[in-house]
């Protein structure tokens, strides 16, 4: 049984999805989905413990040997990403019922749970698989289900936002498909480790350059890197609160994971950064993105839209870490993936609580809610401190590591700009805190009460995790630094 854990991780939510549709009852479907989600988290936890104890796990599907069959690889990097994807997936699902009751018609609840499970399958699959074409398939599973989830939003703009995401996302996915095809044409294999060993990055044909370009641009769309982020604010703003929590916390991070795998696992940093100097390009885009979107975030009245712009900025920090391409930079980038998933997941959960009680995510309606909804508002303060990167929160750890990495690499301008950009985060978080605590109480906030416990408890677990991992830094740090050294080391045979 324990030998088959890597495949169970994918199969469990995949089976839960049609099961939810078959039972057709929203309560039973919820129990099925919730059980599957928490089991998946338990499996992810077991896998990461096994990996830290005894090294990467290779699983051959159907017992076909790797280059011919599909291989699943769980190492410290993929295991780490799986862990927080599954964890946040399960936590958000525990938080979901009151929120979706208010935002999604009841007749569609069981379909919502089914689609949610499919989305989780796709995201976990991208992490687990060692086969490049499989990455494409899982990417499409997760993307298609997230388009459907986003379109469930109450606002009439939700289907339009979903369609805009669908068009851009499909272009991205097709780019990735072209890149994979060209790689296959050169090497005749789809297994990532096998491609890496067959690819001559120094004297290869120009096809390699083309396929690298297609893969990079395709994944940049999925990651919402600065100029290609246009789909993200609309999608996050108009999706139901629960969907935003899950997608914002996990989906772009998984794309960053796939990007790191492609750059470090297949093309080698030597090709991407030394020969092509992708790192300079990424760094510039990341910095422009951080400033541009943080400043845009300051002027938003819709809190979800503000957080969405902030997400694009945070992706920039992860890319900064990756583009440094050394041990400390990569560790910082990977740890920021984890920390930001916690922080942004937590903040969107708080926004969901407010949306439930106040019926709005506009800042003007939130005014004075700090007095009537003290617990929910306090969660925002803690999460916000994490986003800014105040000491004792997880956000501080990753920003500190990024800063030291930048100083070590003697990238002084980057270090200075990073510090300045944290001030921008302070501004937009403070705007919300100010309205919550110091503004005249709005009509809606006056008769609001705190969010129900079913929503507050998962929110506080995630918000608490920000504090826990801000103090107990060794666990994520060890995992991230091991993941960074696997990425930088020679590709495993």
């Amino acid at each position: 049984m324990s030998d088959h854990l890597p495949i169970l991780l994918i199969v469990l939510p995949l089976i839960a999805a049609p099961l939810c549709v078959l039972v057709g009852n929203r309560k039973v479907a919820y129990v099925v989905a919730l059980a599957a989600a928490w089991c998946t988290f338990a499996i992810a936890l077991t896998l990461i413990t096994q990996v830290t104890r005894s090294g990467p796990i290779h699983y051959n599907i159907g017992d076909w040997a790797p280059p011919y069959g599909i291989e699943y690889v769980v190492d410290s990097f993929s295991g780490f990403v799986m862990l927080f994807v599954a964890g946040i997936g399960a936590l958000v699902l525990s938080y979901a019922p009151p929120s979706i009751k208010a935002e999604i018609p009841q007749s569609k609840h069981y379909l919502f749970y089914a689609t949610y499970m499919l989305c989780m399958t796709g995201l976990l699959g991208i992490c687990a698989t060692g086969d490049l074409f499989n990455v494409f398939v899982f990417l499409e599973i997760s993307s298609l289900s997230s388009y459907a989830l986003i379109s469930l939003g109450r606002s009439r703009r939700a289907p339009l936002a979903a369609l805009q995401y669908l068009i851009l996302g499909s272009i991205g996915a097709t780019f990735i498909l072209i890149g994979i095809g060209l790689l296959y044409q050169m090497t005749g294999t789809l297994n990532m480790a096998d491609i890496a060993s067959r690819l001559d990055t120094h004297h290869g044909p120009r096809t390699m350059l083309v396929s690298f370009a297609f893969l990079t641009v395709g994944l940049c769309i999925k990651m919402a890197v600065f100029p290609l982020h246009r789909w993200l604010p609309g999608a996050y703003t108009y999706a139901p609160s629960v969907v935003t929590c899950f997608i914002a916390a996990t989906s772009t991070k998984v794309s960053v994971y796939a990007f790191a795998r492609v750059v470090f696992g297949i093309f080698t940093p030597d090709f991407a950064f030394e020969q092509l100097s992708l790192n300079t390009g990424l760094m510039i885009l990341a910095l422009i993105g951080i400033f541009g979107t943080s400043i845009t975030a300051i002027f938003q009245d819709n809190v979800k839209r503000m957080l969405a712009f902030s997400s694009v900025a945070q992706i920039g920090y992860m890319l900064l870490g990756i583009s440094m391409a050394n041990q400390s930079g990569l560790t910082a980038g990977i740890i920021h993936m984890f920390n930001h998933a916690l922080i942004k997941g937590g903040l969107f959960m708080v926004a969901g609580c407010f949306a439930l009680r106040l019926g709005s995510v506009n800042l003007s309606d939130w005014q004075g809610a700090g007095r009537t909804m003290p617990w929910t508002s306090f969660a925002w303060v803690v999460g916000g401190l994490g986003l800014i990167g105040v000491p004792l929160t997880a956000g501080f750890v990753s920003k500190w590591l990024l800063l030291t990495a930048a100083v070590q690499s003697e990238l002084w301008p980057v270090a200075v700009l990073m510090l300045l950009s944290s001030l921008l985060a302070l501004v937009y978080i403070w705007r919300v805190v100010e309205s919550l605590y110091f503004a005249e109480t709005s009509q809606r906030a006056a008769d609001a009460v705190d969010a129900p416990l079913q929503m507050l408890v998962p929110t506080y677990i995630l918000i608490g995790a920000i504090l826990v991992f801000g103090v107990w830094t060794t666990y994520p740090f060890d995992l991230a630094s091991e993941a960074a050294s696997t990425l930088l080391g020679a590709p495993t045979p």
């Binding site: 074409f133 298609l144 097709t174």
Partner: protein, 149 residues
Amino acid sequence: MSIEQVVGLYNYWIVVFLMMTGFYIVIARTNLIKSIIGLNIFQTSVFLLYITMGRINGGTAPIIPAVVADAHAHAHPADAHATDGPAGHSLHETADELIYSNPLPSVLMLTAIVVGIATTALALALIVRIREEYGTVEEDEILELDRYS
């Protein structure tokens, strides 16, 4: 690059032409249905790219020819050497002379086609909902409606 080379790569020219046509339609058209049609053309060009790369001139489907398969099926393990006479030799030659096309890219495209259909279906479903809400499928008109609401 000589003319023969350029003409010899005609399949790739078709792929590139379709790819750019589709991509242009997606970017340039504001009618949502037309965008989706463009997206479809774009995806189809990639199917052709994969299928054309697996094809070899004179290659057949990767199935063992009936003659060779029969010979193997009837040959008793004990008298395997007996068939290695003149008849067996020619059989080996037939087997060696055969060139197979690579079936894997075509198989991969089966998956990609399914993904493409799912994407189109979902997109059309979304467009139906957009039309119900706004009464139009022109993107600029929709944005205009949103501005004044």
